[in-house]
């Protein structure tokens, strides 16, 4: 019960600080929307090439905005030594990881909805078609992305080139997530049934489970000097 309360406190702290300033969310959202708008100039709405490239464009927007959010979220923790404050508290390191990862995932979810809405308008996709499937894909993809991203942002935040180090470390590891999410999204947008995306969802769920566990256990070694 105490663990649960501490986890809620860790997430609540991030949400409260962010909803007060909206600095991170607004920059993430702007970035994602710009990606969608710029790609819209290149592709003709409703064309075959748009259908093929659309899911990739959507996940480019999600992941690039997500990296921005992951980076800023961890920078806030080191600005006044807050990460040390968390380390000094009687809280398991794994719980600190979970708190940060859940907060990061919520921020990415929050930018996914308006980004997808704009994407469906600009690229002439039916917003409601396959929304239930897309919700599951976005959820599983975001969890995996936020889990690994939180761990790697804690590693990269103490490096001199931390802005560039996070995407360099993150994207190679996230390949299975992005690949599965893009393919599953393509199937869902094409109006295919659950049976067509189950395989990709299994990969996403498996990746999430493995990396949540690995990151939970290894976060301790990332935080220690």
């Amino acid at each position: 019960m105490s663990h649960w309360r501490k986890l809620v406190a860790l997430v609540w702290k991030d949400l409260l600080a962010e909803f007060r300033t909206k600095e991170m969310l607004s920059s993430m959202l702007m970035f994602a929307l710009i990606v969608v708008v710029v790609f819209n100039f290149t592709f003709e709405p409703g064309s075959r090439s748009t259908r093929e490239a659309g899911p990739g464009i959507l996940w480019v927007a999600f992941t690039f905005a997500g990296v921005l959010g992951l980076y800023r979220s961890m920078v806030h923790e080191v600005e006044r030594g807050c990460l040390q404050g968390l380390i000094l508290a009687p809280v398991e390191y794994g719980l600190i990881f979970l708190g940060k990862a859940v907060g990061n995932a919520i921020f990415i979810f929050l930018i996914e909805l308006p980004t997808f809405l704009l994407f469906s308008i600009f690229f002439n996709f039916d917003f409601w078609q396959g929304l239930d499937k897309l919700a599951v894909i976005f959820f599983l993809g975001t969890i995996g992305f936020a889990a690994v991203g939180t761990l790697l942002s804690a590693i990269s935040v103490n490096t001199r080139t931390r802005e560039i180090m996070l995407p360099i470390l993150l994207f190679p590891i996230e390949v299975p997530v992005i690949l599965s999410a893009v393919n599953a999204t393509a199937s869902a947008l094409a109006g295919k049934g659950w049976s067509e995306i189950t395989g990709w969802l299994k990969i996403l769920a498996g990746f999430d489970l493995i990396f949540l566990l690995v990151c939970f256990v290894t976060f301790e070694y990332v935080l220690e000097e």
Partner: protein, 254 residues
């Protein structure tokens, strides 16, 4: 050699043996051995770069030693980190406070992490104690350096720690706040809490300590009980050591 106190069967609050910390080829700490009894108040002096903060960070389990042994209440630090943190209060160079949360929200957050009972009430109490009750709804971003330090003190007081590590806690405090901190530290000493203080203020450090330790180049260069030790002697010893850049010498028994 056992690290238990030879005079009694009570384990020292902190026992450090042959502690070494290196950063690459640089030795920040060289074979530090030190014991602090429960309820003892120890002040560490030393010039910049002597290894004081590194030593404190290792004892707080923020940083891992390169080698050596650390026992907290007789337990290896590595095995009892959570229990150690539960009863440890730290005031460091940084405030550990979130700029975009208010003073009250910051303290409430830490109170939850420390499982402080009646957290809201306790937060109001400590805010009153550091003279920030009126500023409770204000964001920390708007606080001056001194006010942030006061709030940092409130954060360290929240869970009524039995062990306190203070790294230059007077930094940025105005006279009133400094006097409040001194009163609090005196009260903690009277309550037999164990205190490890790092400061450059020889007068303040001497007044608040049972024992003085001087670090130089990552080593304990001098240590002595404050009984019979006056400020003039301390000043003379300190400046002789620092000016001479001495290696360990004259390590008096406490």
């Amino acid at each position: 050699m056992s690290l238990a106190s030879p005079a009694t069967n009570i384990a020292p609050a902190i026992a450090v043996k042959n502690l070494v910390k290196t950063f690459g080829a640089f030795y920040a700490l060289r074979n530090i051995s030190l014991q602090i009894a429960p309820g003892e108040s120890v002040t560490i002096f030393g010039p910049n770069g002597a290894g004081k903060t590194t030593f404190l960070r290792i004892l707080a389990a923020i940083s891992r030693p390169s080698s050596g042994e650390i026992l907290i209440d007789g337990q290896p630090l590595r095995d009892a980190t959570l229990a150690h943190h539960r009863r440890l209060g730290v005031i460091g160079h940084q405030s550990f406070l979130y700029d975009d949360l208010t003073a009250a929200e910051n303290l409430l957050f830490y109170a939850k992490l420390y499982d402080v009972p009646n957290a809201s009430q306790r937060v109001q109490e400590v805010l009153s104690e550091v003279g920030l009750r009126e500023r409770a709804p204000d964001r920390v971003r708007a606080f001056s350096r001194g006010m942030q330090q006061r709030l940092s003190i409130a954060r360290a007081m929240l869970h009524q720690p039995s062990l306190l590590f203070l790294d230059e806690p007077y930094t940025g405090l105005d006279q009133h706040a400094a006097s409040m901190l001194t009163s609090w530290l005196r009260q903690l000493r009277s309550e037999q809490r164990t205190i490890l203080l790092i400061t450059h203020d020889l007068e303040q450090g001497l007044a608040l300590a049972d024992r003085i330790v001087i670090f130089l180049r990552g080593q304990v260069a001098w240590e002595k009980s404050t009984r019979g030790l006056d400020q003039a002697i301390l000043r003379q010893v300190y400046f002789d050591l620092v000016a001479g850049g001495a290696a360990p010498m004259n390590r008096s028994a406490p």
